[in-house]
C-alpha cells in the first residue's frame, strides 16, 4: 500500500502544540510499520520558525504560509487540505483531538467520503496494514477497536496526553515544501471576526500534565485560591466539576467531565468532589489520581490510587507547603 502518513501540525501563540508532537510520534511508528513517509501539514501566516521545529520530527513538511491562513477558518482550511489529499491520496491522516481538529477533520472526512475516529487512545496496524484505532464509548465504560475498511484516507484524532512525546528525527531535519493555496473564495462563507483568549500561564486542561480539580466541597469561588496555590507549586491547571461550573464559581472552560473536557494528565487531584459518574468519565484515563474528601463513602475513592480522608481546608495548605519543600520552590 502506498500513500504517506499525514500529521496535522497545530500551533497556537507561535508554538507547536504539545499534542501535535505526540501525534508526530504516533504517526512515525505507523509510518515505519508501513514503510512510508511522515508528512506534516502546517498552515498559517509567518510560520517559518514553526516549520523548522516540525521538520525535526517529520520526513517532509508541507507548508502553506499565507495571510488568509492567519486564523483558523473551516471553509478555508478544509479546501487547502482537501485539495492536497485528493491529489496525493495519503493512507492515513492524524491530528490531536483539539477544538480545531474536531471542527475541521470530520468535515474533511465527509468531503473525502471516508470515515474518521475521534478521541483515540490507541493506534495500531492490523495484519492487513489497516489502521486499527481504539476509542472510548459511553464515556469510557467500554472501548472499541475500529477499522476504516471502506474509505481512504483512514483518519483518526488522538486524545491529548495519551501518546508519548517523540524523539527528534534521525539524520537531521526533514524537507520543507512550500505549497500554493488552492482556495475558491466563493466557497468561504464564514468570516472569523475575532479570536479571544484569556491570558494565562497555565496549559489547557486537555494538555496539562498535572490537574487539581475542585468540587462543590470547595464551598465557594473564593476558596479556589487554595487550588490555585497548589497548582502554582505543581505547574498544574485548575479544573472544576459540573456543580462548581453550574454554581458560577468557575467558567465552563474549566469543567472536567462528560459535558466538559476529557483529560488524561499524569497526575490528577480530585478535591472536595464526590466522583459522580459524569465527572469520572472525563478523568478516568488520568495516570495517577489522588482524591481528597472527608466522606469515606465518596465514590471518587474507587477511581483513585491514593485517598486522603480529611478536611480539604486543613489538608490543602499543608499539601501545597509539602510540595513546595519537595520541589524546592520558594
Amino acid at each position: 500500500m502506498t500513500g504517506a502518513v499525514w500529521v496535522y501540525a497545530e500551533h497556537q501563540d507561535g508554538r507547536i502544540r504539545k499534542t501535535t508532537l505526540e501525534v508526530l510520534g504516533a504517526g512515525r511508528k505507523l509510518a515505519e510499520g508501513l514503510g512510508v513517509q511522515v508528512i506534516a501539514l502546517l498552515l498559517g501566516s509567518g510560520v517559518d520558525d514553526l516549520v523548522q521545529e516540525v521538520a525535526t520530527y517529520a520526513d517532509t513538511v508541507y507548508q502553506w504560509d499565507d495571510p488568509l491562513l492567519e486564523q483558523y477558518n473551516s471553509d478555508v482550511y478544509l479546501q487547502v487540505i482537501a485539495y492536497q489529499a485528493e491529489k496525493e491520496n495519503p493512507q492515513i491522516i492524524l491530528a490531536g483531538a483539539t477544538s480545531l481538529s474536531r471542527d475541521l477533520f470530520p468535515r474533511l472526512a465527509g468531503r473525502l467520503q471516508t470515515g474518521i475516529a475521534v478521541d483515540c487512545l490507541g493506534l495500531e496496524l492490523g495484519g492487513d496494514g489497516l489502521l486499527i484505532v481504539r476509542r472510548p464509548l459511553f464515556g469510557g465504560k467500554a472501548l472499541a477497536d475500529v477499522v476504516c475498511r471502506h474509505g481512504r484516507p483512514q483518519m483518526a484524532l488522538t486524545r491529548p496526553n495519551t501518546f508519548p512525546l517523540p524523539d527528534q528525527r534521525e539524520g537531521g531535519r526533514g524537507e520543507v515544501i512550500s505549497l500554493d493555496l488552492h482556495v475558491d473564495l466563493t466557497q468561504v462563507r464564514l468570516k472569523v471576526l475575532e479570536v479571544v483568549r484569556a491570558a494565562t500561564k497555565r496549559l489547557d486542561l486537555t494538555e496539562a500534565e498535572v490537574i487539581v480539580t475542585g468540587g462543590t466541597g470547595m464551598k465557594g469561588a473564593e476558596n479556589f485560591r487554595l487550588l490555585d496555590d497548589l497548582a502554582d507549586v505543581l505547574g498544574a491547571t485548575v479544573g472544576a466539576t459540573r456543580g462548581v461550573v453550574d454554581s458560577g464559581w468557575r467558567s465552563h472552560d474549566d469543567q472536567v467531565g462528560k459535558s466538559g473536557k476529557t483529560v488524561s494528565p499524569t497526575l490528577y487531584f480530585a478535591v472536595g468532589l464526590s466522583g459522580a459518574i459524569h465527572h469520572v468519565m472525563g478523568m478516568d484515563t488520568s495516570k495517577v489520581v489522588v482524591a481528597i474528601n472527608k466522606d469515606p463513602q465518596a465514590p471518587i475513592f474507587q477511581y483513585a490510587d491514593y485517598g486522603v480522608l480529611g478536611d480539604l481546608f486543613e489538608v490543602l495548605p499543608l499539601l501545597t507547603e509539602a510540595f513546595r519543600q519537595e520541589l524546592g520552590k520558594e
Binding site: S74, R107, R149, R189, A198, D253, Y306, G310, E326
Partner: protein
C-alpha cells in the same frame, strides 16, 4: 425561519454498560434519554424561532421505535414537527451512513438552518453534524456557545468555544451549528407541551421514502467497522492514607515520588 434540529436518543450517563466477555458486543441497560447537547440545540432553535415571531422547528432522528420518546420530548419543549428515520437497513450504520441518511432526509424538507448537539453522550464523536453540513454543502460551526441572529440580514454572529477562549464568527444562512454547554438552559417542557407531545403524530420515513438504496445506508453504507469491544483497564485498589493531616500530606508526597514516580 425554518430550523431543523438533529437529535439522538442515548443511554443515560448512569446506565450500566457491560462488555460481553468475548468482546463481540455490549449490553446497554434500558435507560435512555435525549442527548444533553441536543436538548441545547432544540432550545436554541425555539429561541431563534420565538425571536423572529414566526417559523417552524422540526426535529429529526434516525433510530428505532424507541426513539419516538426523544422526538416527543422535543415536541413537548415546543418543536412543531418530528420525523423518525426508521428502517432495518439503517441499523448498525456508522456516523457516515447515519449522516448520509439524515442529510438526504433534510434535503427533502424546508429549512434555513440546522442545529444539533456538539456530540452524543454515547460515542462522543461529534462528527455527524459536520458530515451532514458537508453532504448538504453548507458551512458548519461546532461547539457554539452563543448565537446572535439578525433576521433582516439572514446572518448571525456566533461564538464558538476553543481552548482557553472563543472564536467569534459571522455566518450567513444556511448554516449548521453544533451546540456546546453554555449556549442556553433548556426549558422544562410545560404541561401543555407534554399533552401535545403525547398526541403528536410522528412522521416516519424509511430508506425508500428518502430515496436511498440499502447499499448507501446502515452497515453497507458505513466506512468504519467495530472489530471488537474491550472493558476499560481497571485501576488498582486505592491506598488510603491515614493519620494527622500534617503527616498525611508527607505520605502523599512520598507515595507520588517513590511509588507512582510522578514528581
Amino acid at each position: 425561519m425554518h430550523i431543523v434540529v438533529l437529535v439522538k436518543q442515548v443511554p443515560d450517563s448512569e446506565a450500566m454498560i457491560q462488555v460481553k466477555p468475548d468482546g463481540s458486543g455490549i449490553e446497554v441497560e434500558d435507560r435512555y434519554t435525549l442527548n444533553f447537547f441536543d436538548s441545547l440545540a432544540v432550545e436554541e432553535a425555539l429561541r431563534i424561532k420565538e425571536q423572529g415571531g414566526s417559523g417552524m422547528v422540526s426535529i429529526i432522528t434516525l433510530g428505532t421505535q424507541r426513539s419516538v420518546e426523544v422526538l416527543r420530548a422535543g415536541i413537548a419543549m415546543g418543536a412543531d414537527e418530528a420525523v423518525l428515520l426508521e428502517d432495518p437497513v439503517f441499523e448498525e450504520g456508522d456516523e457516515y451512513a447515519t449522516a448520509k441518511a439524515l442529510a438526504v432526509a433534510v434535503q427533502g424538507m424546508e429549512w434555513d438552518m440546522i442545529l444539533c448537539g456538539r456530540e452524543a453522550f454515547d460515542d462522543s464523536s461529534g462528527i455527524v453534524g459536520p458530515f451532514v453540513a458537508e453532504f448538504l454543502g453548507i458551512p458548519h460551526i461546532t461547539s457554539v456557545v452563543k448565537v446572535d441572529f439578525a433576521p433582516e440580514e439572514r446572518a448571525m454572529k456566533v461564538e464558538r468555544e476553543i481552548e482557553g477562549g472563543k472564536e467569534i464568527i459571522r455566518a450567513p444562512l444556511p448554516v449548521l451549528l453544533t451546540a456546546q454547554k453554555g449556549l442556553n438552559e433548556p426549558r422544562v417542557p410545560p404541561v401543555t407541551g407534554v399533552m401535545k407531545a403525547m398526541r403528536a403524530e410522528i412522521k416516519k420515513l424509511d430508506a425508500t421514502a428518502i430515496g436511498l438504496s440499502p447499499t448507501e445506508v446502515g452497515k453497507a453504507g458505513s466506512r468504519e467497522e467495530i472489530l471488537r469491544y474491550h472493558r476499560p483497564p481497571q485501576r488498582a485498589p486505592v491506598t488510603m492514607l491515614k493519620g494527622e493531616a500534617a503527616d498525611v500530606v508527607k505520605q502523599v508526597v512520598a507515595y507520588l515520588r517513590d511509588e507512582a514516580k510522578v514528581l
